[in-house]
Amino acid sequence: MKVVRGCALVFLSLVGMAAIAPEWWTRARYDTQFRDRPDAPPSRAFPLGTDALGRDRWARLWYGTRISLTLAPAAALVSCAAAALAGGGAGWMGGFLDGALQTASDLFLSLPWFFLLLMVRAFLPLNAAPLASIALTFALLGALGWAAPARVVCAAVRRIKTSEFFFQAQAAGCRAARVLWRQLLPNVAPVLWAQFWVAVPAYILAEATLGMLGLGIAEPLPSWGGMLRELEGAPSFRQWWLFAPAVLLAAVVTSLQAILSRKEDSV
């Protein structure tokens, strides 16, 4: 397994480095149109061909990778922060807050995650500007993903509160702030870290599915989901290059899962 994880880490590093600044090494920007070459098949100049507007798919793939790989962790950070606040607060305070958290998370989790995402996305403007659509999509992912991690964090805080070292710290006269900082946070951090790594691939996949259904990031900004919409026009597997975003996405998510299994082992 170590070899697999090592390969996954190397692959993710390479993809990450390639996606940091695609403008340095790709032939064109994501929105540059080659009007004389629309729908071109793969060639040396355009490794994945061009789309119906004559834009270089290879360049768009890497710009889209940058967006997904930057914003999925950002959204995961948002949901983990919300989970830490809600779950940690409920677990620490107990009583009414704990009950309120359970009820609220029951409510959130009574709906399938993707359905909830689709529903709330529909209530927000669909014709948002490209940058606003990025913020909207990933803010939504972050805001709606708090419930499951909050429950895990709440359970972890409750468990820590009944542990011997916690009682000992209290008996030694530690102030609440110090107990929180020195005893609770270091023990909850691995749980939050694991939740973060669970959320990242889930958000990447959710963005891709939303994009494919026309509810994701708006044109002309590229995203994996937006590029996968081109599959709609693929009559057969012969146009293999249209599947390139799906292959890269699957490889990235599989690599993240391989690394995630390591995180699980360590928690």
Partner: protein, 280 residues
């Protein structure tokens, strides 16, 4: 359970009321409308401003089978749901039934032959790979291969069931009483049905309930891509057309389905008893 469904509906109604453009009618843009007509339209919309009154009116109508009217489909919502539910139910039955068969059939050998590391590694890798493909992409690929939406759902849900079931069954096969049963010469089928599955039954039941939620979530992109006239496609079209009354109804229906499944399984959605799943 009823409270959760009602709360889901009420929150939806709140979202509908405060969604951008909720109190604006597109007909107001019509230059042919007179001032009186515009005033009447605005008054009609203003009467919809109270969330509580609207929700109570909706519930009263729902009791009598009136779920409202879909502007985008130009049809009563109750009729739309009645038309589309059978297709989704059929798809869910095929998808979930097949996914459980495949998931369990793939998980049991991993526990039964504890030294079959190659099989365990390959099956886990295959599951991880399938889990890394968005449901919509899987739907496209299956569509090109001529498979039906039920089969696509099966392919999307089976790896999740396999993964959770494997994590339950492998430790169950390693329990001392299973070794003892094997030493006493019990048949493998008896070991499975009497000594492996019963201790895992509560978790498997919780997984069964969770799989309903997974399948409903996956049904939306699959129906949208495979053009299946089911509830998932209805929800997607309603989302694109911002047909919010349809979304409220479908939301309550989905919340009802998942909470019934969770209640029947005796599990709270993603509760502490299922924490190992949540951390995965």
């Amino acid at each position: 359970m009823v409270l959760i469904v009602l709360a889901a509906g009420f929150i939806c109604a709140l979202l509908v009321r405060y969604a951008p453009g909720a109190l604006v009618d597109e007909r107001e843009l019509d230059p042919h409308l007179s001032e009186e007509n515009l005033a009447a339209l605005r008054a009609e919309k203003a009467s919809d401003a109270s969330v509580n009154a609207n929700f109570i009116r909706y519930l009263r109508g729902a009791v009598h089978g009136d779920l409202g009217y879909s502007e985008s489909n130009r049809a009563p919502i109750a009729a739309l749901i009645a038309d589309r539910a059978p297709e989704t139910l059929r798809e869910l039955a095929i998808g979930l039934g097949g996914a459980w068969l495949i998931g369990l059939a793939a998980a049991i050998p991993a526990g039964r032959w504890r030294n079959a590391h190659l099989y365990d590694g390959l099956s886990s890798a295959a599951a991880a790979l399938l889990l890394s493909v968005p449901a919509a992409v899987a739907a496209y690929v299956c569509l090109l291969a001529g498979l039906t939406s039920g089969v696509v759902l099966m392919i999307v849900v089976a790896p999740k069931i396999f993964r959770f079931a494997r994590n339950l069954i492998v430790p169950a096969y390693g329990a001392p009483h299973v070794f003892m049963a094997r030493a006493r010469g019990l048949s493998e089928s008896r070991i499975l049905f009497a000594h492996v599955l019963p201790p895992s039954a509560p978790q498997l039941l919780a997984l069964a309930a969770a799989s309903v939620s997974m399948a409903i979530g996956a049904a939306i992109p699959i129906e949208a891509i495979c053009e299946v006239p089911g509830l998932g496609r209805l929800a997607w079209q309603a989302a694109l057309a911002r047909d919010l009354p349809v979304l409220v109804n479908v939301t309550m229906l989905v919340a009802l389905a998942t909470t019934v499944a969770m209640t029947l399984a005796g599990a709270r959605p993603w509760g502490e008893e299922r924490k190992p799943e949540a951390t995965r």
